[in-house]
């Protein structure tokens, strides 16, 4: 019999990696589909060809900034302002990748380069939860990223061709991502400090969202709330 005393060192079977990755990633795909469809429809109405639409989803892979780019394009904006706006809108991934980095030690830099491409709000949330709570393998995380990526590209192309035939908001699918974020938020509430940080961040985000246009409220609120949390912990105001 084989001695299984060191399961972490055992190579994982490819089918297991794919199965687990897809199991973790399907809620993302479900959530991406209506958004990708809507994006495809809008982009097509703005005069883009389905190939151009699919190419944008492939090369950029960042939902909200793609919507903004399309509306800027139809408003006649030139390349530079669109690229700069994209940069600002997507800067929040800097924080997400920083949190993920801890779990990607010893992974070859070619693989981390590919992994980085797939870091989105959704894949970040799913993978980080798994990394923290289970023996999540970076290859499973990569499957999550790439499955979500495929769903995004496919749905935007489907939208480009046929989106107008699918009724908007069918089966409450618009709520898929919100429900997913709510559940992942629950997973993150691992003590008093986390609950307080969540409340502070949520309130700050709502307040900032009301007064600051754009999506900078996400980065601002999370940075401020996490800093507040660290200060509280360091000064022993709140213990976890």
């Amino acid at each position: 019999m084989v001695n299984n005393s060191k399961p972490a060192a055992e190579p994982l079977a490819a089918t297991f990696i794919f199965r687990e990755g897809i199991k973790a990633g399907w809620p993302i795909c479900l959530g991406y589909f209506p958004i990708g469809l809507a994006f495809g429809v809008l982009a097509q109405q703005a005069g883009l060809h389905p190939v151009e639409i699919g190419l944008m989803s492939l090369l950029v892979f960042a939902g909200s900034s793609q919507f903004i780019a399309v509306s800027m394009l139809s408003g006649g904006a030139s390349v530079l302002p669109i690229v700069l706006t994209t940069f600002v809108v997507n800067l929040r991934h800097l924080l997400m990748s920083s949190s993920l980095a801890v779990y990607l030690r010893h992974v070859h830099k070619t693989w981390t380069a590919l992994f980085s491409y797939g870091v989105t709000d959704e894949s970040f949330a799913v993978n980080l939860t798994r990394f923290r709570d289970s023996n999540w393998d970076w290859r499973q995380a990569l499957v999550v990223n790439q499955t979500a990526n495929l769903a995004w590209i496919a749905s935007s192309i489907v939208g480009a061709y046929s989106g107008q035939f699918i009724p908007a908001g069918a089966f409450g699918i618009d709520y898929a991502l919100i429900a997913m974020f709510l559940c992942l938020l629950v997973f993150q509430l691992r003590g008093r400090l986390y609950v307080i940080t969540a409340i502070v961040s949520g309130l700050l985000a709502v307040l900032l969202a009301l007064f600051v246009p754009g999506n900078s409220y996400i980065v601002l609120a999370s940075v401020l709330a996490a800093t507040f949390g660290v200060v509280c912990r360091r000064k022993d105001i709140i213990n976890d």
Partner: protein, 107 residues
């Protein structure tokens, strides 16, 4: 044929999106972090998730305004409780969708 200006746009957008995703993973994954920074990063996920979801629930319109009676928020309460009770991601997604679908129909 895809116009070269459009291609340039996509490459530009792709690069400025990719770089912030890649830089921290490339640099932070190969060094020890100071403890305060590790503690800070530990709180970032909960902060980001909360900052992503709360404005979606209670604000709407453009420019945004506060609306505590949106179906998004009304449905979020039972969805949150369901997640707290079951800790099932798939179950929460399906329940949230179902409740939202009903809320849109009847509210």
């Amino acid at each position: 044929m895809i116009k070269s200006e459009y291609l340039l746009l996509l490459i530009g957008m792709g690069l400025v999106t990719y770089i912030p995703r890649w830089v921290p993973i490339f640099f932070l994954s190969r060094r020890e972090l100071p403890p305060w920074f590790a503690e800070w990063l530990d709180l970032i996920p909960v902060a980001i998730l909360s900052a992503l979801v709360f404005p979606e629930l209670v604000t709407g319109g453009s420019p945004r305004f506060l609306d505590l009676f949106r179906p998004q928020f009304v449905v979020a309460v039972p969805t949150f409780l369901f997640a707290l009770k079951t800790r099932s991601l798939g179950g929460t997604v399906v329940t949230g969708m179902l409740l939202f679908w009903l809320a849109e129909k009847f509210i």
